[in-house]
């Protein structure tokens, strides 16, 4: 493909690894450019498939967060050296979408490997000549490649490829005078401006004219909505930090998907505590130390009695904060389905919740889902424990 035609000068390259990632500006797309050479590095090994690489790198998968995709500037040539970089010009009336400048030079070893068969002296005489500048015009995606050659500071020949995506931002119908003005020469500080200067850039983000929200409603966050947990988060101020994997904002420690990373789960393992009775009086305040008889090791699970459907779908919630009340639980469990009854155990003397309560769902499946989702959920700065009220989940 194109790479072959450009590679003839390569043997004369004295190589060293200089990887200029970007030329000074630290816009997000520039940072990503560091990745490009490495990616190109991988493709170097597969150099024989140069044509394929070329297409590969030019693909939209190349990039980053920036929605404006842009191709990696790595051309894997026959000798495995990879180059990138450069300068390109915007076209009038069309806005240059991205301008990148990456320079990557290959290592000496690979040169020798690849070009071992060739005559060593060939091309040395013509060191001072540079191949002509090539412009591979805008293709259907608007991608334009400009390939230039230069001597860099160390006297090495460097091939610079700039990939630009040009996109029409607006249709400008200019008057005759305006068209004349378009061809005015630059003056003042703009005189020495090469077209690759970064004064003018297109924003990487799509900015919208945001309609005003009704006061009190939350701004729409671009997070994954639809997750019921996200909907339930109070006031959006919960910062969930997981101790196991250290990831913030995603899940609490007890709900860490990477539970096996470190033995952190001690807190919630039920220690076989010798506590009695039962069921209700499980002074919900003991977190994790008390094991209801039905869940202890060796407990027999008897068949369920004929209970009212209601109690079959009863869910016990423990480790509630002291000011949790029925409406709170109602609100918390409503998203999972119809709730027929909520109860929060309140200490009559102090008026505060004793830390536990019960929620009866109409449907068992809803109850199951509620248990799955809310067990370990952070609510009012405590981690909830949600389980079947009669500890037999079929």
């Amino acid at each position: 493909m194109k790479s072959k035609t450009i590679c003839f000068c390569i043997p004369s390259l004295k190589h060293k690894e200089t990887n200029h990632g970007d030329s000074g500006n630290s816009s997000p797309q520039q940072k990503a450019s560091h990745d490009k050479p490495r990616k190109g590095g991988k493709t170097k090994e597969h150099a024989p498939m140069a044509p394929g690489n070329h297409a590969d790198n030019a693909g939209p998968d190349a990039v980053i967060a920036a929605p404006a995709m842009d191709a990696a500037n790595i051309d894997a040539c026959g000798d495995g050296s990879a180059h990138g970089g450069g300068v390109a010009g915007p076209e009038s009336l069309v806005c240059p979408f991205f301008l990148w400048e990456i320079e990557v030079m290959a290592t000496a070893q690979q040169t020798k490997l690849r070009w071992g068969e060739l005559e060593e002296d060939d091309g040395e005489y013509l060191d001072f000549l540079l191949p002509p500048r090539q412009v591979i015009g805008p293709d259907e995606n608007g991608i334009k490649k400009v390939i230039e050659y230069r001597f860099n500071d160390d006297g090495n020949k460097v091939k610079i490829t700039t990939t630009t995506r040009t996109r029409k931002l607006a249709n400008a119908r200019l008057s005759k005078r305006a068209v004349e003005r378009r061809s005015w020469p630059k003056f003042g500080d703009a005189v020495h401006e090469d077209v690759g200067s970064r004064l003018t850039m297109v924003s990487t983000e799509e900015i919208l004219l945001e309609r005003p929200r009704a006061p009190g409603s939350k701004p729409e966050e671009p997070k994954a909505g639809g997750d019921s947990l996200a909907q339930l988060s109070k006031g959006g101020a919960v910062l969930m930090v997981c101790r196991t994997c250290g990831k913030k904002g995603d899940h609490w420690t007890s709900r860490c998907p990477y539970k096996d990373l470190a033995p952190q789960a001690e807190g919630f393992v039920d220690k076989p505590a010798a506590v009695s009775e039962a069921t209700t009086a499980a002074s919900g305040a003991s977190k994790g130390a008390y094991v209801p008889p039905g869940m202890r090791a060796g407990a027999e699970r008897t068949g369920s009695d004929m209970r009212r459907r209601n109690d079959e779908n009863s869910v016990r919630v423990t480790n509630l904060s002291e000011d949790t009340r029925e409406p709170d639980l109602q609100e918390l469990f409503r998203p999972f389905g119809a709730v027929s009854r909520v109860y929060v155990a309140i200490d009559q003397k102090t008026g505060m919740s004793r830390g536990f309560g019960f929620v009866n769902f109409v449907n068992r499946e809803d109850a199951q889902r509620a248990i799955n989702k809310l067990n370990g959920y952070g609510y009012d700065s405590l981690i909830l424990r949600v389980e079947w009220a009669t500890p037999r989940a079929n």
Binding site: L174, R182, A190, V202, L209
Partner: protein, 326 residues
């Protein structure tokens, strides 16, 4: 829409102006070089070198040949737009704050700040076609308003001059005699410094923005208050769309918003209001600092904003913009 970011200035922007054809955008900033850009793709055309102080304001003639800029270095300079060459310099005893060219480009109104003993003043100068004929004589000088005059513009048919400034009063002066014709009402007018003033496309009404977090729409001939737009931030810049009934306000720091965590581009926004209903239509975020300058392209299909961050953001509207309904 994807705004085009132009970072040609190192210091905060002070003023933006489109030429009549809408293909050039002139930007003034506190760094001493006004710059001209192509308005379609944001490419820089050139800079005008010569000022020694912050450039506060500029105006361009209708044929886009002459640029006049007012600067804090106590001079107002005339430039050739195409070459960047300085044609003439008017010198004053105090920093020049606002400039505006009259219809026909034969006269210019220039305001100067109060400085040491001299109060603020409004000067009218003649601009001649041929730069060699240019003289520095004032046709008219008006003194009187207290405090700085932030903006002064010509009224319809150059018969009047409208000025607004730190004393929060909008005044209309006769341009031939210099007599004060009208003043805005104290109760219904602004309560704090008026920072900006923008005329409508045909000149029948104008919009003033003030640090009292509101902008007001006035009739040019009678100076009656027509509409008021209220925001949460002090208003630094105002602009009116020539195409739709929209008013844009650009503002400054509001302490209560400083701590909100918005990780997106930049939280200072230009707010769009419906001109007639006075309701907010929306906002365009993006600036990292208070917005100091706003300008609409005369074709109404794009606008640009300049901020304290030194960036000029040029927005070409999407088609949904033209279909907004409240």
């Amino acid at each position: 829409m994807r705004p085009i970011l132009m970072k040609g200035h190192e210091r905060p922007l002070t003023f933006l102006k489109y030429n009549r054809d809408g293909d050039l955008l002139f930007s003034c900033a506190k760094d001493h070089t006004p710059t001209v850009w192509f308005a379609d793709n944001g490419e820089r055309l050139g800079t005008y070198r010569g000022h020694n102080g912050a450039v506060w304001c500029c105006d361009v003639s209708r044929d886009s040949m002459r640029l006049i800029t007012g600067s804090a270095d106590q001079s107002v300079k005339l430039w050739n737009v195409q070459t960047g060459e300085q044609l003439y310099s008017f010198n004053f005893g105090s920093p020049a704050r606002a400039v505006d060219l009259a219809v026909g480009d034969k006269l210019a109104v220039i305001t100067t700040d109060p400085f040491m003993d001299s109060p603020s003043a409004i000067h009218v100068k003649q601009i001649s076609r041929d730069p060699s004929d240019q003289t520095g004589e004032s046709v008219l000088t008006i003194k009187g308003p207290q405090g700085r005059i932030n903006r002064a513009v010509w009224g319809p048919l150059n018969k009047t001059i409208i000025s607004a400034g730190e004393d929060a009063v909008v005044r209309i002066w006769d341009s031939e005699t210099g007599k004060l014709l009208k003043e805005s009402d104290k109760e219904s007018g602004h309560k704090k410094t008026i920072t900006s003033l923008s005329k409508s496309a045909e000149g029948s009404h104008f919009l003033t923005g003030s640090l009292d977090k509101s902008a007001k729409l006035w009739d040019t001939r009678t100076l009656t208050l027509i509409k008021t737009y209220v925001t949460e931030r002090p208003v630094n810049a105002v602009a009116m769309s020539p195409l739709l009934d929209h008013v844009v306000l650009g503002g400054g720091q509001d302490a209560s918003h400083v701590t909100t965590t918005d990780h997106r581009a930049g939280k200072f926004e230009a707010k769009f209001f419906d001109r007639i209903l006075q309701e907010e239509i929306g906002g365009v975020k993006g600036h990292f600092g208070p917005i100091n300058a706003l300008a609409f392209n005369p074709d109404g299909k794009s606008f640009s904003s300049g901020g304290e961050d030194g960036y000029v953001r040029l927005h070409h509207f999407d088609s949904d913009y033209f279909n907004i309904k409240i």
